[in-house]
């Protein structure tokens, strides 16, 4: 029997998801043995025309990482959708928008101004900005359009499953691949990771007092956190209560709080709203009756850039999707 055909593609991402595939180490050999990789721009020399030449649905599975922010990315993911039986959004950026999605606090014009004119590392005396069409002699050079808004993969094409994480850890990837190969997939649209919150599996939750009170907000650089205590107890915002587990608690074990790359659990619509709600409920709870409105404001104002913090990985997938322009 012919092996199932598999494609990998990347959009607005950092390349970490591609490395996550390589990080499967010897497990990747099992994958390569079981499937036929027909498209993987970062690692193999196939071209767009090779994909175009395939029959619709010929690729069994396409793993697509990265958010969608350019015309080219949109065109490629639509092509892959047509040619694929299953499309998997691979990693935080395809799933939620991820770090590139934070660009939704700006738009194309403000980003171009900053990147091509203002940053100290640029020398652009003529103030040239990228354009989709440029005349050079009698030739015309073209670039894909750069959209104002970064979108998640499922805002552009139909997505069958999601593999979360920045980047997805090897066990989550292997479980997903096995489920696909064995045809043991859950309901369409599922996130292929446990539907539990990170606090449920966090090694620090055992010693966590039943009622946590955050007396004040501290930023991770201000203290060296106790490696056994729940971050919240020490005043450091951790998005564990609002975030899906399955990451292997890598950040927590490196003594860094969760920033939400796995996204929310199933029933949550807006990851950031859930996170801010969880933090606000325990901030200053100990003396809550005694706090005046000003006291509350002072406590809360210690949170720098709350929109950027609570929506660090999920801005494009949030209810509002972007800042008003």
């Amino acid at each position: 029997m012919a092996k199932p055909k598999v494609a990998f593609y990347w959009c607005a991402s950092c390349g970490g998801c591609e490395e996550a595939v390589v990080d499967l180490a010897e497990d990747i050999l099992k994958v390569v043995e079981a499937v036929d990789i027909v498209f993987w721009p970062v690692a193999m020399d196939f071209k767009k025309k090779d994909v175009e030449a395939m029959k619709d649905g010929e690729i069994a599975v396409s793993f697509i990482n990265g958010a969608v922010r350019t015309e080219e990315q949109e065109e490629m993911v639509k092509l892959l959708r047509r040619k694929s039986g299953l499309v998997i959004a691979f990693g935080s950026c395809a799933h939620l928008g991820g770090i590139p999605g934070l660009a939704n606090f700006w738009n194309r014009d403000t980003i171009f101004e900053r990147v091509y004119k203002e940053v100290p590392s640029i020398a652009n005396p003529k103030g040239v900005l990228p354009k989709t069409k440029t005349k050079v002699g009698d030739m015309e050079l073209t670039l894909p359009e750069f959209w104002d808004t970064v979108r998640t993969l499922d805002q552009v094409i139909d997505v069958d499953y999601y593999i979360p994480g920045c980047a997805p850890p090897p066990d989550i990837i292997m479980n997903a691949v096995s489920a696909i190969l064995e045809g043991k997939l859950p309901e369409k649209g599922s996130v292929l990771a446990p539907d539990k919150s990170l606090c449920d599996t966090c090694p620090r939750s055992e010693k966590k007092p039943e009622k946590i009170s955050m007396k004040e907000i501290k930023r991770p650089y201000e203290i060296i956190p106790d490696s056994e205590k729940c971050f919240l107890e020490e005043g450091i915002i951790c998005l564990g209560p609002a975030t899906r587990s399955g990451c292997g608690e890598k950040c927590i074990n490196a003594n860094m709080p969760c920033r939400g790359c796995f996204g929310p659990t199933k029933e949550v619509i807006d990851h950031g709203a859930k996170g801010l709600s969880a933090i606000a409920s325990i901030l200053g709870i100990e003396d809550e009756e005694k706090l005046s409105e000003e006291d509350v404001q002072k406590l809360v104002d210690k949170i720098v850039d709350p929109a950027g913090l609570f929506y660090m990985y999920s801005l494009p997938s949030s209810l509002l999707r972007r800042k008003k322009i």
Binding site: F105, D148, T149, R151, V268, I269, D270, G272, A273, K274, L276, S277, I279, A280, S281, L283, G284, I285, E288, E289, L291, E293, V296, Q297, L299, V300, D301, I303, D305, P306, A307, G308, F310, S318, L319, L320, R321, R322, K323, K324, I325
Partner: protein, 137 residues
Amino acid sequence: MKDDKLTIVSFLCNWCSYEGADKAGNARLNYPANVRVVRVMCSGRVDPEFVIQAFKEGASGVLILGCHPGDCHYKKGNYKTLRRIYLLKRTLEGFGIEPERVRLDWVAAGEGERFAKVANEMVKTIEKLGPLELSEV
């Protein structure tokens, strides 16, 4: 919810502010009709998600009314609301949404007049700000 008038969604606590609104109605105190009322069991039930959802679906302002501090039927729901809504406002600023579009206040069951006053003030604030026009995405 799309009509010419500016819509204000108000979440009223069942035990106090909802009664207060009722009093305002019975006493025929005038309060504007584009304040849409959603009854909740406690102001603490108002999840920030509800507020964002209201904006997303066309509201230009959201008013949350609960029992006065110390009077919450569930004892401490409204303290939590105070912190949550303030943090939500700060977060919404990052989205370009003016914090004045969200107002949290306290109205007791007997305070029909106070309800009408707060509701009218909110309408004025929102009229001044104009409709909330979220970017098409």
